[in-house]
Symmetry: C2
Subunit: 294 residues, 2 copies
Amino acid sequence: MSELKPYLTDLIAEVDAALDRYLPAENTTPETIHKAMRYSIFAGGKRLRPVLCLAAAEALGADRSVAIHAACAVESMHTYSLIHDDLPAMDDDDLRRGRPTNHKVFGDAIAILAGDALLNESFVMVSRTAKTARYHGLDFVRELATAGNSQHLIGGQVMDIEAEGKQITREELAHIHDTKTAALLTTSIALGAMAADASPIQLSCLTRFGRALGHAFQVIDDILDVTADTATLGKTAGKDLVAEKSTYPALLGLDGAKAEAQRLTGEALHALDELDGDATRLRQIADYLLKREY
Amino acid sequence: MSELKPYLTDLIAEVDAALDRYLPAENTTPETIHKAMRYSIFAGGKRLRPVLCLAAAEALGADRSVAIHAACAVESMHTYSLIHDDLPAMDDDDLRRGRPTNHKVFGDAIAILAGDALLNESFVMVSRTAKTARYHGLDFVRELATAGNSQHLIGGQVMDIEAEGKQITREELAHIHDTKTAALLTTSIALGAMAADASPIQLSCLTRFGRALGHAFQVIDDILDVTADTATLGKTAGKDLVAEKSTYPALLGLDGAKAEAQRLTGEALHALDELDGDATRLRQIADYLLKREY
């Protein structure tokens, strides 16, 4: 198996090209909203969710193109959630993916609407996934809608806001991460697997991998917020402390948090041991995520 | 055919009961978001869109229960758009359906998230519509997603915001109404018709009816904003003038606007003349809308 970097570059290029085909051109009326949608979608994110989606389909022996619609859908849903989370009424962030946040460029009203539009489009995208022997089109729609609902992606953001300035337990923090981050990440993998007609056992392995990886990812994000600088992050560093957010470094100390990230990544990799498929790329991606600068 | 009022009461009760089954209970974690979603959904709206959805299915001879999921979906999408439109960053409204707006009660952050959650749920709801001989589940999902996208519901709100304080032409105003109001209203009727397995000709008749009715409805809304008081409207009267919005009364004068509402209602009723079905209830609803107090 070749190196990870050129593989990621290929996948990201495919996702970007597909997103470009999906979203109305910048000069489509009304232009403001289409400029705003494209501004955030093409801000140069890591594309972690769509990459995992495509890699999951490949791990089961399918051509990764079967999962391209689902890959676009999870990225579109993720980007909408970032735009809304960054609003002054929520986390009030000026910087995202190394650029001014959507509302700093387009104003709050357009940012809210651009987020709405990307959420709406994510369902168009996922609905294009071709049915398989085991899964029909609506299974993909419902999988995405569950990850995005008021008990997962949105519920996690609510609990995150409500926990600000409060002491919460490790279990409560894990529940916030599970809903706010791990759910959509797990769904990204599940959708890719379903597009490849995953067996129930394959889907269960990959779902356990996704959930553990999602937790690991969030713990590492918390660590980076403390240890990295704003230029490296592409978003404002140290903001968790300012917002009095509960984080793993705050609860467990920096070394404790690093150990927890390692433990969760181990758990993720362990879930792949039982996968009837070729998990090499998924393992590489998990390793790569754990070794992000901190 | 009996009177309209008890018929509407029955339909609204059915829609309310179905929405109550769909939405997580108020004590579901995190409670705030579920309270906020239910606050706006059960604020006593007219339920015009779900009523039209159910009545369209009945007009084609189906049991209206086939369209109940779609009826909930269009109401959920409509309610999300009201919550977001009322935000301080947009129309900045304090009153809706006779009660304080969502953000006045729950704050801007929760209001944004409650709107997001209702948009997300609308796709779950519409995805439950049973397939027919002519339409499969994804047709319903895509019909809803088209009405809600950046060139229809969201695009209309963008153009509405951008037109504030500007002189716009009658054609531009008609385009805003077409996207902001008529699109979802037409889709409400189309979804009900599709759930009843409408033929292409039936769907075309009902779509023309919906579009003309949607325009008539918006013209009447503009008139009521000038002529009715806040208590009657349940939302702040006279706000179009304050926001320097272009409206039909402003462009055509009050009498001109009333004539236009009548003309559009005539156009809507005329579209029903060719319907292979029983259009009595749809006619009654159109008459009822035209005769709203002004």
